[in-house]
């Protein structure tokens, strides 16, 4: 494979071109591998490990907030610091953890799943990783500036975020971070789209790609449509703050609400950008651990595309309370999204139906995802109704809703992905027993933390407050929520221990530990540079490896139970 490559990578143009040796390239190690290896698997792992570190950091911020809220009165931090905590918690979780982690999965899995040697632009891939890390650190460095980190909430509404009301350097660094993360995301998305559209192996038609790859196509196109809007909005806010422009300044003829429109035109699709990759992850996991083809493949692809498309037309459902938006349009559009999402639910249930389900840790996390995501989705429909939203907006109901979508949904997807692909990434399986301990602590802690917040929201507790009075009656449920958060925090420990013990003395996993169906399991674990030195199996369906292993059990997605049983 490497032998057919024509030109070796040399740094100096004048250097004579030498034939590359036929032997497989040696991997770099340590710091050099981190900073200079453009192999998509190295970049993917860098993305995921970095994002996970940010996840732990932002989780600590959340624990501080829950500690403060466990009791009326000031416990840990003052109201100013509390503002910094929730702003940075949200910004890091959304922009520096979830979507970069998804880009990490995309980097690692997309080329393998479509049978490519690498991403289309390996160097730009590495560039976007380092811009991402720089952007994330810029944002976090706000904590060490004199006035502290940004404290205007993750959606940074003007005029609160202008230079009069938020003058600190932390706010500036937040804007710089957002712009850099936007650039990095655009580069990554471009890379993914070009890779999928131009690097597929023979026979890998668009409609034979694994669902995960399809989801990354949809996500990347959404990124290309909305990240530039965010970066531009941040740049305009920066010029408002520093150069005296008045885009968002009402006193000089600007309009603060422009920010809300621009931000949410990015912000709502962003939620789907964060969660769709994990829809893809659980689809792969359901199929493999049920030993079934994905049920209703084309319908699922179409549903994903519809979700992506609709999500660009619903931004102002975050702005009902402004009184300045077209309520019926955004209400109807938002509720419409529930339709393709419901289709996906049935696809997933149909995939498991009559399958031989194995409850591995990855599968357990995927099922947990399904359970909590349904709650998150249904409460989303409640919030989409303007009449209800006027009551619930900016209350803890909203907080509970989006944590069910993103913390329950996407983070369960993150762990499903970790347990599922860990053997491919590192050649060793994580311990299943510790995995289940991790899952149950996570599941119980999560529901304990966030379910009561629905009730708190209905009772009228506003979000983003550092304190409440004894007389409000919010205390008991806040105590429950804080205990849940502690359990949630503890649940990471079995995972970290699991990772450590697997690293020290895990057993080799082999190429295909889960009896997989897609191409990434057709090569060694971890795959060498170039990915498929032994060549690829022929691609005649959406699960080529399965066809190779079980030629007599052809994929069928039909509803005939007898035919379906015969295929598993």
């Amino acid at each position: 494979m490497t032998a057919t490559r024509e030109v070796p990578p040399t740094g100096v143009e004048a250097q004579p071109l030498v034939e590359e040796p036929a032997a497989p390239e040696r991997r770099l190690s340590g710091f050099l591998r981190w900073t200079t290896s453009t192999d998509h698997k190295d970049v993917g792992l860098s993305y995921m490990i970095t994002a996970f570190v940010f996840f732990l950091a932002a989780g600590c911020l959340a624990l501080l907030m829950r500690a403060e809220l466990a009791d009326p009165g000031q416990e840990m931090v003052g109201p100013g610091t509390f503002n910094e905590l929730f702003t940075m918690h949200g910004s890091i979780m959304l922009l520096v953890f979830l979507s970069p982690f998804a880009f990490g999965i995309a980097n690692y899995c997309v080329p393998l799943m479509i049978g490519a040697r690498d991403m289309a632009f390996p160097r730009i891939n590495l560039l976007s990783y380092w811009i991402y890390l720089g952007g994330g650190l810029s944002m976090v460095f706000g904590f060490v500036t004199a006035d502290g980190a940004a404290d205007f909430g993750w959606f940074a509404y003007t005029p609160l975020s202008d230079s009069v009301r938020s003058p600190g350097l932390g706010a500036e660094l937040w804007l710089v971070g957002v712009a850099l993360l936007g650039i990095s995301g655009i580069l990554s998305a471009l890379n993914i789209v070009v890779t999928v559209f131009t690097m597929r192996t023979r026979g890998m038609t668009m409609f034979r790609m694994p669902i995960l790859v399809w989801n990354f196509v949809v996500v990347s196109v959404m990124v290309l449509l909305v990240f530039p809007v965010l970066t531009a909005a941040a740049a305009m806010l920066w010029t408002d703050r520093n150069l005296g422009s008045v885009v968002y300044d009402a006193t000089a003829g600007g309009q603060p609400i422009i920010w809300q429109h621009l931000f949410w035109f990015f912000g709502h699709p962003e939620v789907y950008i964060l969660v769709l990759p994990y829809f893809g992850v659980v689809t792969e996991v359901f199929a493999v651990f049920s030993r079934r083809p994905v049920y209703g493949y084309k319908g699922l692809v179409f549903a994903t595309c519809s979700i992506g498309a609709l999500s660009l037309g619903v931004w102002a459902h975050h702005m009902y309370a402004t009184g300045a938006v077209l309520l019926p349009f955004f209400g109807v559009m938002t509720m419409l999204i529930a339709v393709p999402t419901g289709v996906k639910m049935f696809n997933w249930l149909g995939t498991m139906w009559l399958g031989r389900v194995r409850f591995s840790t990855a599968m357990t996390f995927a099922i947990g995802f399904l359970a909590v995501f349904v709650i998150g989705g249904v409460t989303g429909v409640i919030l989409a109704s303007p009449a209800l939203d006027f009551h619930l907006t900016d209350s803890y109901f909203v907080v509970a809703h989006f944590h069910y979508v993103l913390s329950g949904g996407a983070v369960f997807g993150v762990f499903a992905a970790i347990y599922y692909w860990w053997p491919k990434w590192f050649g060793k399986k994580l311990h299943e027993g510790w995995g289940h301990v991790h899952f149950w602590l996570n599941f119980i802690g999560f529901n304990l933390t966030f379910f009561v917040q629905f009730i708190l929201g209905l009772e009228g507790m506003p979000r983003r407050v550092a304190d409440y009075t004894e007389a409000s009656g919010f205390r008991p449920l806040n105590v429950v929520s804080s205990i849940g958060a502690a359990v949630l925090g503890v649940s990471v420990l079995p995972f970290l221990w699991n990772a450590y013990r697997t690293w020290r003395r895990g057993e080799p996993a082999g190429d295909d530990p889960w009896d997989g169906q897609t191409l990434e399991w057709a090569t060694s674990s971890p795959p060498p540079i170039g990915n498929f030195p032994e060549g690829l199996p022929p691609v005649r369906s959406e699960r080529p490896l399965w066809d190779l292993k079980y030629p007599d059990r052809k994929a069928t997605t039909g509803a005939d139970p007898a035919a379906r049983k015969a295929t598993r």
Binding site: V217, H261, K298, G313, S541
Partner: protein, 140 residues
């Protein structure tokens, strides 16, 4: 899906590859949404402009896919077996992306922090950009 006869039909219809149809669908859908929004939103120009901008982006992509990507991936949808294009140049290591990112990040921070960060940032950025481009020259 896996019925070759059905695929034979698709293969014959290669005028618009799936990639192009994908972007066309996006463009048409947003055109519809944008127009509905234009009529009913009573002059909310930010949303209208953003939606029509999305239409333009999607249609430009569809045009590009129709004229260019069809050539790049023509054999993929012919259902032959074998390995994809092996001749594309894909470097496996380079120190320029790191330096270019360093320059970008330091410059961006310099905008807000001050000249003492901005000027070195720009220098690193330009140096790394030149290296990045030179490294990629004469490769195809």
């Amino acid at each position: 899906m896996s019925d070759p006869a059905a695929q034979g039909v698709e293969v014959a219809d290669r005028r618009f590859p799936t990639e192009a149809k994908y972007f066309m669908a996006i463009g048409v859908f947003f055109a519809l949404i944008a127009t509905i929004y234009l009529i009913f939103s009573d002059g909310e120009w930010i949303g209208v402009s953003l939606l029509y901008a999305a239409v333009i982006v999607a249609l430009v992509c569809a045009w590009f896919m129709t004229t260019r990507v069809q050539g790049a991936q023509a054999d993929v949808e012919l259902y032959e077996e074998g390995e994809g294009d092996q001749t594309v140049y894909l470097p496996t290591r380079s120190h320029w992306p790191f330096l270019l990112a360093l320059g970008t990040v330091v410059t961006a921070n310099g905008f807000s922090v001050g000249m003492w960060l901005f000027v070195p940032g720009v220098i690193v950025f330009l140096y790394a950009l030149a290296g990045f481009i030179r490294e990629g020259r004469d490769r195809a």
